[in-house]
């Protein structure tokens, strides 16, 4: 467990709360969504010690910290996963498209046994991904690993470290 990144999750009251636990610090423009998912190993077991971070643009496709960004949106989410199931959950907004790319959320995954943190990204099933330059570089048979599934409250994006559904990881 990455205790130093999420001490409050395990009951250690520090820093006035964990970094990345809240992505919306006030009224945020755009469409609220909840992104959930699980990281699975090559035997189909859910990881319970993974830390997942996301970084994304605001609803207008502007990254927090840049001119014109939504002042109440941090863009950074961090989840230690549910203590029982390992599932991650982010309350965020759907990002706008950025620089000719389809809307997406950047993911970074670390856990015991992952020697080098894994970058990947999540796209949305309702969007036209035809012109997206990163998706275009992914072999067609593996593109589905980067597309989330709709849920009642948002999207489900499971990450597979190995196996027939192994997620495409990026050195980017």
């Amino acid at each position: 467990m990455h205790i130093g990144c999420t001490p409050n999750v395990d009951g250690m009251a520090m820093y006035g709360g964990d970094l990345g636990a809240v992505m919306k610090t006030g009224p945020v423009q755009g469409h609220d969504i909840i992104v959930t998912g699980t990281v699975f190993d090559g035997q189909g077991e859910a990881l319970k010690d993974a830390m997942v971070e996301i970084w994304q643009a605001d609803a207008h496709g502007v990254y927090p910290g840049q001119t014109g960004a939504d002042p109440h949106f941090t863009g950074l989410g961090r989840s230690a996963g549910d203590m029982g199931t390992g599932a991650f959950r982010f309350e965020t907004v759907k990002p706008g498209s950025v620089g000719g790319q389809a809307p997406h959320i950047t993911f970074w995954i670390v856990a015991r046994g992952i020697n080098l943190g894994l970058h990947t990204r999540m796209y949305f099933p309702e969007d036209d991904l035809g012109g997206d330059p990163v998706m275009a570089a992914v072999p067609e048979a593996r593109r589905a690993t980067l597309i989330a599934a709709r849920t009642d409250s948002g999207y489900q994006f499971d990450i597979h470290l190995q196996g027939p559904q192994e997620t495409v990881f990026l050195d980017i």
Binding site: R112, N115, L116
Partner: protein, 235 residues
Amino acid sequence: MSFPPRDLDWHPPTIDLAYKSTTYRGPKHKRLQLPPTASELSGPVFARDMIGPDDANLIENFAASGETAIGPRIIVHGQVRDEEGRPVPNALIEVWQANAGGRYRHSKEAYLAPLDPNFGGCGRCMTNAEGRYEFWTIQPGPYPWPNGPNDWRPAHIHVSVFGHSFAQRLITQLYFEGDPMIWLCPIVGTITSKAAVETLVAQLDMDRTVPFDARAYAFNITLRGPDQTFFEGAA
């Protein structure tokens, strides 16, 4: 700004059966190497005032009033640099570690060594305009872990760094100069280059020692590029 692809031979392979947890967790496909986009070149910007006055002092930041953590008092300091040797100011560094007996404070850990009521084992700081950082802590102890029949982690501190770009996101481990346990560890052993391992070993720095108070260790961190510090997940 851009980044060259990582040298994946400098980093350990994703699967090394001597480190059992990699067996089913290491991806089998090579990472898809692409030039970073705006999404990876950007990254969170943190306000300096998010760092509280005791955040970078692990000896005191979890201790009762008037108490301090047990263990050898040390200062860990260094510089965060980018791939071209330029300092990285305002980098957020988060650290965590076991106590002097090798025991972590978290609910899933049950090593025989006792908790220290005055030590939480977590801290954070931000680099200054020259990319330099410093925190005070106690030297952690080694501890056994379930892997082979008799495997021990060398004394180490986990170090997480946010540079200016999400592409630079790093978690690594700091070891201590002269520790013979470094070279016996199956996690360290996943790194094939001795020179790469040596980027993870903090050096005793008598110049920065505070006499009659704390010894100092120097640990520089390089983000991305041929000189980069080895990236890894936490054990």
